[in-house]
Amino acid sequence: MQISIDFDKCCGAGQCVLAAPEVFDQRDEDGIVLLLDSDPPTEEYENVHQAAAVCPAAAIEVQQ
């Protein structure tokens, strides 16, 4: 799985952290996404797809 993030699009909603807390976090100062694991284990795939699907800025792209 390859996760790419468009940081300029990120609006700091944190929906990705709710969907996949093992893979995403937010910066303290502005809430911009932090990618904790760019190559997550297979058991996280569903969560990562969910994060990409609900991101309100379409900032997360997943290739698998």
């Binding site: 909603a13 709710l18 797809h49 699907a53 609900v54």
Partner: protein
């Protein structure tokens, strides 16, 4: 495939909710025929940036495309863009398009969204704008380039964001709203007053608690607005941001229940093989049973995925849609985020930060229970309070994340 499972699914509406439905269906393994019908000629694009980065000129249209063309291609859809659905024939289970074509379905998802409300008498009037589509945003942006005096009618999300952008572009801006404070419906009086102060500091003239009576015009072009209290504000350009109304007229006579949106049950099912998702869907509030619609970007995505699952499960096995509503706004250097429903809150308490610092988390309560949490420039901290909103926790001065 299960017996009776749908093999021809039609999604009407090709914006965030519609996209979420078709993506959800394919992710859940649906391989049957899937048609996506859109009124606009564009592939699905994102609307929140229309009143932010697109209006300011920071972004162009390509940045708003929700998925790359090849990603849409890979969904293997029958895409019909620029041909809105104009009728639903429930007897034959067909959607009638504006070009006369008919598309048959065994499951239909209505995701036709909303359109901007307009002020009466402004149809075809030059210099009067709404902000809902890409074309709307470009038309307004083009006018703002001449640095006109802009009057914004309405102090909601669209109006307040556009006022901030227009100031950034060097326009003279007057914001007129019937609420006591800008975004008062969403923020309440205290945070609304803070937002008002920020707009005034940036040079916006803010007129609150007064309704606009009509747009004044000469030679077919707006010259300003008159207020119900008799005052007149002259302007070169008028932006009307007074809310949206659901696109349900095409369902007239179809038997699909419509009242301020498509009336659904808790699973977003409207009966007769018809489901709804996004701005247009009205479904029972789990606490009050009253039908509610949520016009938020995240709701569109979440409902789209929920409907995709429920369509495949079938009405008997569908599960209720549950959500904690989330919405945000960016104005100047403020990022304001809201979990839950602030409307009708009877208590507000700042639990972190302060209004003076323009950094805070506030909890909103109703009948002794937390109904919303609002953050100003405290994105990460705010997320810690979401659970209290989800649980409708007891509203307590000691509430902490």
């Amino acid at each position: 495939m299960k017996p009776g499972a749908p093999s021809r699914i039609v999604v009407v509406g090709a914006s965030a909710a519609g996209l979420s439905v078709v993506e959800g269906l394919r992710r859940e393994g649906y391989t049957g025929r899937l048609t996506l019908i859109g009124e606009e000629a564009h592939l699905p694009y994102d609307r929140p940036p229309l009143s932010k980065q697109l209006l300011s000129g920071a972004w162009e249209a390509d940045r708003l495309q929700l998925r790359a063309s090849d990603a849409i291609e890979n969904l293997n859809l029958d895409v019909r863009l620029g041909t809105p659905a104009v009728a639903l024939d429930a007897n034959t289970a067909e959607v009638v398009l504006s070009d006369g074509n008919r598309v048959s379905y065994d499951a239909l998802v209505v995701a036709t969204g909303t359109r901007a409300r307009r002020l009466r008498g402004t149809e075809g009037m030059g210099g009067v704008h709404v902000l809902r589509t890409l074309e709307d945003a470009f038309a307004l942006r083009e006018e703002l380039a001449a640095k006109p005096h802009l009057v914004v009618v309405g102090g909601g999300f669209i109006g307040a964001e556009a006022a901030a952008v227009a100031r950034g572009l060097g326009c003279e801006v007057t914001l007129v709203t019937d609420t006591a404070q800008p975004m008062g419906d969403a923020l309440g009086d205290d945070l609304g007053a803070m937002l008002r102060a920020v707009h005034i500091k940036h040079g916006v003239r803010v007129q609150t608690g007064v309704l606009v009576d009509q747009v004044r015009a000469a030679d077919g072009r707006a010259t300003g607005v008159s207020l119900v209290d008799g005052r007149t504000i002259t302007a070169d350009t008028v932006l009307v941001g007074i809310g949206a109304q659901p696109n349900v007229e095409w369902l007239a006579g179809s038997g699909v229940p419509v009242s301020g949106g498509v009336l659904c049950d808790a699973t977003l099912y409207a009966g007769s093989g018809v489901w709804a998702a996004g701005d247009v869907a009205a479904w029972p509030n789990p606490h009050t049973g009253e039908p509610v619609r949520i016009e938020h970007r995240t709701n569109a995505a979440e409902q789209g995925l929920a409907v995709a699952r429920n369509v495949l499960a079938g009405p008997e096995h569908a599960t209720p849609f549950e959500t904690v509503p989330y919405v945000w706004t960016d104005q100047y250097d403020l990022k304001i985020q809201i979990y839950g429903r602030t409307r009708d809150a009877d208590e507000v308490r700042i639990v972190e930060g302060s209004i003076a610092d323009r950094r805070l988390v506030a909890l909103y309560g109703r009948h002794g229970r937390v109904c919303a949490a609002v953050g100003v420039n405290m994105t990460r901290a705010l997320r810690g309070y979401r659970a209290q909103v989800a649980d409708a926790a007891e509203f307590d001065v000691r509430s902490a994340a």
